[in-house]
Symmetry: C2
Subunit: 787 residues, 2 copies
């Protein structure tokens, strides 16, 4: 007998047929009666004082219904960063990047709105601007925000043990610096939204967001409304990846335009505007020093990180924290020192993207592990196994690996890739490399230091007893959360998945912090399970009363009531209900009592059966300052092996194969887990190989379209062998934990290590464009005098 009937299977996702057939409704598919169209005026200058704004010509244009600036929008700072609120809806007296929002227009057509935007006259005094970390940090550099001298947005300093002292005594010490490039989230769907006030002053915002809850709170704060008077709904999303994980200025402008016009207003970002909004992966410069003993035991890590933040904070401080704290594992390491800095400049703000803050740190660190292994002549996989944490271990910075299938992951990629045979025996110009990684399953505390539950769910049974309706405010953004929750509800109720209907992404349905930090399955999954169990308990209570059988002697499974002892005689009950209650049963002669029958009895006796569930993590606080931010109820972990071919003549790197294993705790839906693993690998390859947002000398994005900014397509994908490793996470619902972000961690270092294996040259800067690889080889050859 299987432990589970619904979860741990390969259920067809409940959202994909809609998407495959074109039925799925995205924000821009939605039309409202009398809808207006909004457009933004954004700064053409990277840094300038606003001397005056004249909206009179725009207002006079026929069809224009409202023109708003900071006068209407106010000057409330709404930024998402826990420590730094510097973002306002519109610039007040200064613009800080090309794209900084200044004004917005609502008109009867998008064309009119766009013309009106052009008619707004802004007088600027252009200021000197800085675009790089180095320029921004220079003495006398232009200051982006008066209250942050030296352009230092945020800094984090952590020390566990005594890294400096221990490093001084190490047998082996390796130091290197790795630098990536600013990325764009490159969601296929550009952000869009529709805001509308009803006639009783409730604002509904339909928006392509990962976090309806936070958008609800931000909108309420900025517009001065009660949270209960703001409803945020999320239709289908064309991805998020972190970029849609906070309210954006367009959403807020849209709500203000709706308030001013009392009409529904729709706004959309163009692809160019998406690049201007940015809020995606930072450019990181990590300098890491790792110390080890001769036998390969890791003993200390010293780590300095500089983030090229852009003009505003966005997730700034959280990103800095994650960049440091997620090197605390998955290896035993007693001494760790971290100094992280986020620096302002006059480019669009960077924010969170899949694997928030931790991806490049991991790339740098895992490269060093290979260097150490090489130096002591140890197989890099053996080095990692030797230092690996065990289930129940806690990192020096208080991350508890309450479940930890890392050894199984390594074994899976070792055998899956045929590592033992291949490593050291790769043909000319081919290489093999590996890396590990781990990631949080949700953050211990909400962004905004809110005190709310992280998720609440309602399960309501239909009156016919046959269907359970699951209501959650969670955010299906393409990751498969709707299907996961439907499966969890089905499993917890003991009924088939087909009998679940689910509605999500609506703040009216409850609280849910949304889709970020890989939190949905564990956190909302918990709330879903509790709500389903609550509904189930009520059905069994009523049945217990009717049959005089204790609740604990009954079970529900596969849609049938099971009795632990001998089945009671329910013929009297059946006869009575058939007689008194028309249509009570579909199978009057069945020998088994169905859930549908029992649930219908519960309805007839008590009315609507409604179960509620909630989730808040247990106390995770560590003893170290700032530890809390990085901590999570659980951590997913993974190992990957990359195989590459490098053409030394051109510098072209081809990824031949990725073997990927991930411990996701209990896999709710095997197919979705694999999908997340493959998606993570694809994003990691994009970041490793070719993604880079390029600016001109005045701060304009040069490649703000998906023709010039290249993401990985199906054509670029290597063979991926994804192996799901299941563990039983004690803090997860049915033992489940994350997969959506952790799976990206090993991809870049595994590729970097494989490239080194192929060409013997270490590359410390991303992406691995042919040009960069070619010149690295040339430089190496020159240095070493190789032919």
């Amino acid at each position: 007998m299987k432990d589970f009937d619904v979860i741990s299977t390969r259920a067809p996702r409940i959202d994909t047929p809609d998407k495959a057939t074109g039925k799925a409704v995205f924000v821009d598919d939605i039309q409202k009666k009398g809808m207006l169209f909004g457009a933004l005026l954004q700064s053409p200058h990277a840094h300038a004082n606003i001397l005056s704004i004249d909206t009179s010509k725009a207002e006079a244009l026929p069809g224009v219904k409202a023109v708003i600036t900071s006068k209407e929008a106010g000057t409330i700072k709404y930024g998402v960063s826990p420590a730094r609120y510097d973002e306002m809806v519109f610039a007040v007296d200064r613009v800080r990047y090309v794209g900084d929002e200044i004004a917005a227009v609502a008109a009867t057509s998008l064309e009119i709105a766009l013309i009106a935007v052009e008619l707004i006259e802004v007088k600027y005094e252009v200021l000197p601007a800085v675009f790089t970390l180095e320029e921004a940090l220079k003495e006398g550099a232009p200051q982006i925000h008066e209250d942050f001298p030296g352009n230092l947005c945020a800094e984090v300093h952590q020390e566990f043990g005594d890294a400096e002292k221990v490093l001084a005594q190490c047998d082996i010490v390796k130091t290197s610096t790795v630098k990536n490039k600013r990325q764009d989230g490159a969601c296929i769907e550009m952000q869009g939204c529709i805001a509308e006030f009803d006639n009783r002053d409730t604002l509904t915002l339909i928006t392509s967001t990962q976090v309806p809850h936070y958008v609800q709170r931000t909108v309420a704060m900025v517009l001065g409304l009660d949270v209960g008077k703001v409803r945020v709904k999320k239709p289908y999303l064309g991805a998020g990846f972190g970029i849609k994980a906070s309210a954006n200025p367009m959403e807020l402008a849209c709500c203000i335009l709706a308030r001013e016009t009392r009409k529904p207003v729709k706004m959309n970002y163009t692809r160019e505007q998406v690049f201007m909004l940015a809020r995606a992966r930072h450019q990181f410069t990590h300098t890491i020093t790792t110390g080890a003993k001769k036998d390969g035991t890791l003993v200390a890590l010293k780590h300095e990180c500089w983030l090229d933040g852009g003009a505003y904070s966005s997730f700034g401080i959280a990103t800095v924290y994650y960049s440091g704290s997620l090197l605390g594992g998955p290896y035993k390491l007693a001494n760790m020192k971290y100094d992280g800095y986020r620096v302002y400049n006059n480019k669009p703000a960077c924010g969170a993207q899949r694997g928030h803050g931790a991806v490049i740190a991991r790339a740098c660190f895992e490269q060093q592990l290979d260097m150490i292994a090489e130096e002591i002549g140890m197989d890099p996989m053996e080095l990692r196994i030797k230092n690996m944490m065990e289930t129940g271990d806690t990192t020096c910075n208080d991350l508890n690996m309450s479940s930890f299938g890392m050894s199984e992951c390594i074994e899976a990629v070792r055998s899956g890739s045929n590592w033992d045979k291949k490593k050291g025996n790769m043909p000319e110009s081919k290489g093999i490399g590996m890396a590990c990684g781990f990631f949080v399953s949700g953050a211990g505390y909400p962004i905004y230091r809110s005190d709310t539950f992280h998720g609440t769910v309602i399960v309501k049974l239909t009156e016919d007893g046959g269907t359970a309706l699951v209501y959650t405010a969670s955010a299906e953004i393409g990751q498969g959360s709707d299907t996961a929750f439907a499966m969890i509800a089905a499993e917890a109720l003991g009924i088939p998945l087909d009998n679940i209907r689910l509605a999500s992404g609506d703040t009216d349905m409850g609280v849910d912090l949304g889709a970020y930090s890989s939190r949905q399955t564990l956190m909302t999954g918990h709330a879903t399970k509790e709500a389903a169990e609550h509904a189930r308990a009520q059905v069994l209570e009523v049945l217990s009363e009717q049959l005089d059988v204790p609740v604990q002697d009954m079970n529900i499974r596969n849609g049938f009531i099971e009795f632990k002892a001998n089945s009671p005689d329910f013929s009297e009950l059946r006869t009575r209900y058939i007689k008194e209650h028309r249509g009570w049963t579909d199978n009057p002669d069945s020998e088994k009592l169905t859930f549908k029958e029992a649930s219908r009895i519960a309805f007839l006796e008590r009315g609507s059966i409604v179960g509620t569930g909630k989730y808040k993590p247990h106390n995770l606080g560590g003893k170290f300052k700032g530890a809390a931010v990085g901590t999570s109820p659980a951590y997913g972990c993974s190992a990957q092996v990359a195989e590459v071919t490098v053409d030394e003549g051109t510098g072209m790197v081809t990824i031949d194969k990725i073997t990927d294993a991930h411990d996701c705790g209990r896999a709710i839906n095997m197919t979705s887990v694999e999908g997340q693993m493959e998606g993570s690998v694809s994003m990691g390859i994009g970041e490793a190989m070719h993604e880079e947002v390029i600016f001109d000398a005045k701060g304009h994005v040069l490649n703000s379209d998906l023709a010039e900014y290249k993401i990985v397509t199906a054509m670029d994908m290597p063979q991926v062998n994804a192996v799901v490793v299941e563990s039983n996470e004690p803090n997860g619902p049915f033992g489940a934990k994350e997969v959506g972000e952790g799976a990206i961690m090993p991809t870049i270092p595994a590729i970097l290590n494989a490239v080194y294996d192929a060409i013997g040259v270490r590359i410390y800067e991303l992406p691995l464009t042919p040009e960069r690889v070619y010149f690295a080889i040339q430089e190496y050859k020159e240095k070493t005098g190789a032919a």
Copy 2:
């Protein structure tokens, strides 16, 4: 101190701003991605055998996605009448009226669908048809349904006491026959619907219905789906009046087209098709004999009624029951005999319309009361007062007047109209007349003899504590039910109406039998009150735990927590919550604890606070056969005085003034009650004065538009003086009961009695067109030899 804070006031309706500003979304405003358009093929013959149907040409037309006939639709009988199911989606081998549905088409545009309908080739064998009661009952008449010989659709026979015997001994016996004309519901919005299957086989039907619940059940039955796999949603409605109180063939065809095409399909009736669907007020022929004592005491009533039913049952048998049973009151009457018959013919089926079945019976009976009063020289008002039932009385057919403000109603119209001065003293050609009436507040049993709750409601508090969301499947059809339930929820929770948001008309939200038989306020109102009280109790429970104050020592009123004894010291609680829970309170220095604060505490301690409520009437069963159908938990009652001017030269009757009083129990919203009273009067005037659906000799409607079929407009409305009489109905929520239909009861007889008062001629046939009145006067003059 007032008893109530929210109810019994004049709250602005929550739906009217949307309607007044054009924001309201009706079915036809809704567009779906990839939506197809449906059209119906309807019979051009009143009676014919279908020899063959050839859909091949229609199917071959480009753009046509499906053509369906009874082959696809099946032959399940779905009729709404409790005793007679004779309606199928499509005619199988015989059509029975002009408009009988034969086939439907879904195509990429309405134009293509309409062309395709024309391309369906049907071979008919035309049969002899019958169009009147008399023709249908003739020996040897064509038989409409084989299983109903003699074209008798339904009959009801009731006897209470011994009417025949008592009549034989009466001092005064009056017999008369009154006949009305077939009406159209004439809703401003014609029926429309959109059906769509999602990719998990759940069918959503958005439709302009009064009864989402029954439509859900009918659709599930006809399509063979689980009820839980069918969701019916009702957007704003442009009225219903009973005509939209059951599933119609278009809704079912639309669902089948959606199943066949796997696309959303929209269908709308044209105005002509609305007249063809009919299902509105029957033509009744009532013959009533009333017996009284010399002193005016009523003693017996003998009543025969014939209904011209049309080709199918619709609400047939329920209509026949109501026609008889609602004469059991409001007067004391020990002996009543009723024989009612509904007869088939080859016209569209009649059904339910405001005041279901009872309006013309009341018109006939209240006219006779005036005849009796005249004969014994008694003021007609005095005669009614003399015979009036009292609170708590039960009629001979078991209707219990658990609240009964009839005396107050009569006094109100007496003084309001200045009756005592005017009656007997009206100027030449002017007349005054009065009548009384009563009606059910919901039917004791659901249509379909379902065993379900009549209403379930869910109340969910938002996490910020400030707003209560009320979810009900009830049907706001223009009568104001959404506002009534929002007010009831606010009153029960103890918070202002502004803090309620309400969603209704969606079967996913619960069970609600819908808007018919004036059931919403009493029945759904009960469920709403219970759900709100359940949510309130949970808030107080948590507060009780936190403050150590017993629940019963606390109250919630106007958004504040009230303490019965001395207010406890909640400063510690406040300090703790302010410290631990960011944003817990808006008013940290207030001396009072608000509901918002308490409700937020409840959320933070327990998660989502969800209250559930339900309603099912107590056992109402009477001892007489069929009594149950007519019984209700409560009865609204009313009195009206009409003042008219009759132009004897032209026969033109002008209604000068209506004085109307109605006992609605506790008025939830005074303004809405008055609106229902005025609306009822307007419909009564239309029926009395000019509404009549006219057919040609072959069964085609001749006046199937609102230019030729005249309903009352603002221009036709007399001054209406509406007086709300409040009683405290023990079976109603906060004492409320019906007003929507009972208020029409006295209108027609009051007008008839006023016309008699003006011209001395009794008219027994409606409507009172100038022609009919003129000839009645001429005939009277000829008969009596008057000048």
